[in-house]
Structures are given as C-alpha cells and as structure tokens.
Subunit: 443 residues, 2 copies
Amino acid sequence: MKCLIIAAGKGSRLQQRGDSKPLIPLLGIPLIERVIRAAMEAGAEEFFVVIGYQGERVRNFLERLADRLAIRITPLVNDDWDQENGLSVLKAREVLHQPFLLLMADHLFDPKLIQPLTSLNLGDGELALVVDGNTRNPLVDLEDVTRVKVESKKIRDIGKGLDDFNGFDTGIFLCSPAIFKALEQSKEKDGDTTLSGAVRVLAAEGRAKAALMDDGFWIDVDDPAAFQKAEQALLTRLRDKPNDGPVARYLNRPLSVRMSRYLVQRNITPNQISLFSFLCSVLAAGLFMLGGYIALLLGGVLAQFASIIDGCDGEVARLKYQSSDVGGWFDAVLDRYADAFLLFGLTWHLLAVEANGWILLAGFMAIIGSFMLSYTADKYDKMMRERLQAGGKAGLRMGRDVRVFLIFLGAVTNLVLPVLVLIAVVMNIETLRRVKMALDGQH
Amino acid sequence: MKCLIIAAGKGSRLQQRGDSKPLIPLLGIPLIERVIRAAMEAGAEEFFVVIGYQGERVRNFLERLADRLAIRITPLVNDDWDQENGLSVLKAREVLHQPFLLLMADHLFDPKLIQPLTSLNLGDGELALVVDGNTRNPLVDLEDVTRVKVESKKIRDIGKGLDDFNGFDTGIFLCSPAIFKALEQSKEKDGDTTLSGAVRVLAAEGRAKAALMDDGFWIDVDDPAAFQKAEQALLTRLRDKPNDGPVARYLNRPLSVRMSRYLVQRNITPNQISLFSFLCSVLAAGLFMLGGYIALLLGGVLAQFASIIDGCDGEVARLKYQSSDVGGWFDAVLDRYADAFLLFGLTWHLLAVEANGWILLAGFMAIIGSFMLSYTADKYDKMMRERLQAGGKAGLRMGRDVRVFLIFLGAVTNLVLPVLVLIAVVMNIETLRRVKMALDGQH
C-alpha cells in the first residue's frame, strides 16, 4: 500500500525543540521516522511525503532514511506550507491514483489502529477515518483537537468547533483519489482549504466512513505538553511486558524505563547496554569473592543495579526500532554467565570462611538450578501459553529478576548461605515441576 | 489419498517368525504397521487392507491400530488368498473409484519414494510404479524380484523371468481404477491373475508409467535373509544423524544401535531409557566423589556407558514411531543435569585431595562452559545451517558426546584436572566464538 504523509507545516509551538517539526527527535527518533515505521509495520510499502517549511532538511533526512530502511520515499514540495493542510494533500494528486493511507507527520499512533481501515471495503469515491470514540482520552488536547460526529459508522460532521460530537479525528485516513476532487470542491464552494473541509464534502454525500475505536494509542504532538505526554505514553507501553516477573514489574522496570529515557538520547546500542550490565555483574561477583561484609554489600547493590540496567537493552531496542533476535540472544547468553558468576562469587565468599562440602553443594545446586530454569523456559513458556488458552492455571513465574533480587537481599542481610540454599531448592524444584508438566501433557 | 494394501498371503518362508506375515514384528513393529505408517507419512489418509490367511488376527490388529492412530482402516476379505495377488487387488473394485496408492504389506520403504508418484500427473486409465533402477541393489533378491523394462518413462515389460530388464518392481503403485479392468482382461486373455499380468496389459497400451529412482530404500521382506537385511537397513539409517559429533558417530552410535535392536523388542519407552541413562550418570558422579582411582575409573566407564545408552532413547523412538518434542526436551534437560553432576563429581574428587581455589574455578568454568555450549546450540545450529547453505565453513562440532568422552578419558588416565581445564577452556571459547559469529552476522 502507498502512504502519503503531510510534513509541510512549521509547528511553531514546538520550535524550542528543533527547527523542523518532523525532524524533532522523540525518545531518540524523529517524529516522521516514527510515523513511517508505524505505517511500515501496518503494511505500507511506498511513501510520499509533502514537505514545506525547512523542506531541504526534511528531504535530506528522508533520503538517508529511505536508504537505511530500503524503502522508496518520494518528497512532494508544497511552497504554500503556511496555509491550510488541504493544499498539501492536493500536491499528491498526480502521483496517487489508487486508495492510499494518509497520515500526519506529527501524529504518533499504534500500528494496530490501521488494521480496521485496511480491512474496510473502501468503495470508489469514499474515504475512511480512524475516529477515537474515547472523548475522555487524556492524551487529547480538547481545545485543539478536530472533533467528529459519527452516526451508523459514517462521519456526519467534522470540525474543531463542533459542539455535538462523539469522537476525535486521529489524522489516520484511508483515502480514495476522490479526496482530491473533494478538496477542490470545498475550496470553490466555501473557500475552505482544510482537509476537514474536504471530509465534510464527502460526508455530506455519505461517502466518509468512520472506523470507531476507543482504546488505541495515538497522540497529536503539537506542543511541549503533548510532546511530554507522548514520551510518557511510549515509555509506559514498555512496562507492559507479560513475561516480566514480579521484581521486574514492580521494581526494575519502573527504574530501567527512566534510564532508557536518558539512554535513547545517546548513541548507545542495546548490545552495549547488555555488555555493560554483564560487566557490572562480573564486578559484583568479584566483590563477593573479596570477602568481608562491605564488599558483599557493595556487590549485592551492584548486582541489583546490573539487573535493572539489564532491562534497558530491550527497552532502548524497542524505542529505537533496533530489536533483533540476535540481540535478545546475546543478552540471554550474557545473563546466563552473569547469573553463574554471581552465584559462584557467593559460594566462594562462603568457602573462604569455611571450606565445607555442604556449602559447595549448595552453591553448585544453585548454579545448576538457575541455569536449568532458563534452559527450560522456552519450552515452558510455550506450554503455558497453550495451557492458559485452554483455561489452565499459571505456575510460579520465577525468572532472573527474582534470582538476582534474592542474591541482592542475601548480600545486604549477610545471609548468603540461606539464599544459596533457597535458590538451589526453589529453582530446581520449579525445573522439575516443569518437566513433570511436560511429561503429563505428553499423554 | 486412499491406500490399498495387500496383506492376504501366507508368507510361508517367514513362518518361523510368526503365524501371520503382516503381523510379524520387525524391530518391535509389525510389518503392516510399518507400511501403514510410511504411507501416512507420505500423505495417505484412509486405508483398505485385503486380508486372507489368518484374516481374523490381522483384522483384530488393524482395528486396534486404527484406534491408536485415529485413522480409518477397512478390511477386505479375499478367501482365495492362496492364489495370485491380482485377485486380492480385485477385492477393492467396489470401494475405490479414484486414483489410489497400492502397496504390499511385506514391502518396507522410505516414505519419500511415494512423492514422485503423487507428483506425477496420472491420466485416466493409467498406472504408475516406482521402479528401482539400481540393478545392483544389495537389498534385492535377484532370484525372486519382479523385473521391469523401462523405456522413456514407461513400463515396456514386467515379470519375474525377464532377461532384458533395467529395474525392479518395488511394489509401490499409484493406480487409477483402470487396474481392475486390466486384471479382468489379463485373466480372460492369458489366464494370468497376477498383478504383473494386469500391468502388462496396461503397458501394452502405453498406459503404465514408471517413476525410476536409484537410491531409495525399499525391501521385500520375503524370507529370513531379507528380514535380517531389512532390520540391518533400518538400524543403519539410525546412524545417519547429521547432528552427531565425532564420538557419537564413530564410537557411541555403532554401539547404541546394537542396544536399540535389543530394546525395541521390549516394552521400554524412550523416556525410560533417558531416565536410566541419567541415573547411570548420577551414579558415576557419586563414584567420582567417593575418591580413589578405582572409583574414579569405574565412574568414568559408567559415564561413557551412560553416554552410549543416551543414544538409544532417540533410536528406539524413531524405530517405534514414538518421537516427540517433549521426549527430546526431557532427554536434553536430563543431559544438562547429568553433565553438571559429572563435572561437579570430578571437581569434588580433586577438592577432597586439595582444597584449592584454582581447582574450584576450573570446575566451575567447566560446568558453566558445558552448559553454555548446550544453551547456545539451538541458535548456533540454525545459523550454521544458513551459513552452510550460503557456502560458509562449518565450525567445530563439540557436543555432549565429546564432553563425556573427555570425562571418561580423564577418569581412566587419572588426569582429572587437565580434563577439567580442557573442558573449561574449549567449551567457553567455543561459546564465545558462537556469540561473536552471531554478532558479526547481525551487521
């Protein structure tokens, strides 16, 4: 599918953050790149971007982006960028002859919102708009938003001043080329060159469909307040990871998200973060081996710090579209080494005081148990998803977050042996429970 | 696809192995079940089996088999089972009105042989036969086999006494219902009620196609010699595992295959074999911990024995059609525990003589290295397959077989520390190499 993006305006209310609004980085990625990435995820393959204010800079950026993402992006120039946005849409009249996606460079959104549009059966001469039916959406600036009145899945009216409305214009359109004619008509009839004017023309003829939704993410990044809300919304979405254990969810993730907000501004890759977290764990293990409570305490704190940092690699990868299988695997491999080093450090710490076979056995069983829990996790996760879909009960979630937190607690409280024994017992029992579950499911 | 199987004959030359030839177990599974399983693997969904000699016993078995495999098997009775096999085929005349697969209950074969048949575009009134073009196939009894003369992909002549031939009848047919008419014609014209007679009728009209192949596995299990050859062929095929390391390939597999030949005759599940192997490893680790060379030696031998036995679970599963994801996973989980226990046992053995931090470190690094090698294997194997397809070089294959063999050597030669250090170094370096390869491939 082809996609038209309007990126011509000046965006004066955000000028403090950068000269050209589409290029303002939000959590490390320019607004227009976020819009293009989201459209790509929803299936768009070729892009036309209407540029205007600071057009050369936007054009240069788009050229590099097209190379980087291996897609086609054609810039269309609108010299009347200081006038209404309908004129920008009209610039695409000669190049778009099939239904196309129409997006705004400053409207961020969840790619899932596009799906109901593309599954609509758009007739010739029609247009469809994603309308947010949640009129209390806290991300919407009620003063500035374009309001929509929807009746039986069609747009009845649209405009900023509307008193009778039941939804908001998200700026996510699926248009047939009829939009160009409607823009002309609106201009001739009412002297109205806004996109809303053209939608009104089509709506009057019953040709403007509405795809109503009420809990999808979208935001018009128009002023500093909206910019902050957008950042916050993207960061909050990072915390919604179903695989997170309790410590990750309630302790690590809130902290790591804050760090990620800072890290995305820097030129740091997710793999570098993984490596840094790993080195912190190795250092922590070294502190454990030094002996003495102070070193133990410092090691414990450092280990927990490394565990928090360990959330940032995935977060930064998601925020900067750098997620990869290999990256996730690299992180997992380093985590296994880190876990083993930490537990070995604790075992050494104890053995240095008293060379005792039971301590050695506890340390060994803790290391093997923590390994086995990770080793069995893939299979277990898959089984659990199937069980849960079939209405079964979830087992204990006991991942790395809990393991390192226990190490941290053991170090801080100087109760190292009990923690080693606890990890050894819990991790191995949980592993055996998984094996039993798998074998039970086999018959 | 429907499938007709001829299982009516007496098979007197195999009588010593069981009353009813189709029910004679070959490596634990009756011949007819092997044929049905192979046909299922090739896509057959509904079965008709012509029974005759000992028909009630065969019928009972097929009923239970249909339940067990959740398929439909309809028995067709041929009271003239002591006459030629064409009469058995005729029994299906009323039930088969579309092209169908025709197989012999005593011909075992690789399911892949069926594929060229089903991809043939069989015309109305035609028949196709898989012909073995390898006239030196050692599995073929040249005295007894039905010979075939093929010319430009068509059967020219067929018969046991043929002097001019270039292939063998494998007994794997794809028939249109025209076969029934051809059987009648052959009977009326020449008094010939063999299946070959009917094929000759169709061949004379240019309606008998040949799917010529020259290295597929098939065997007519007709007498004790062929029976032994068939067993040997199935066992040999077990040894052809591309994932086997050098020790597995040249030492363990030849021995484990011999044990599997024995085990399939017993009512032992693959999971029970996995568990037994694991318990042997635990016992070996216990012997290591006892101290002293004799215990060390015994432990080493037992560990290697466990490693050999560890091949049998998969072999028995393949021979008895009991392979499963969960079974493979169960084996892998037990292997990880077994590896860790063995290395821990060796470490303990050394520490009991001299409590030394370096020994502890070597043992720990050996345990973590052997774990990491298994942990990274899935990803690595996938990458390597892709690399090799792209013409890259294979890295070192260094799996569990090598690890346990090194442990065995270390115990036998009483060079435990060098072996621990070797495993620690080699396994961790190989892990790091894999990580480096993955990261290199990322860019």
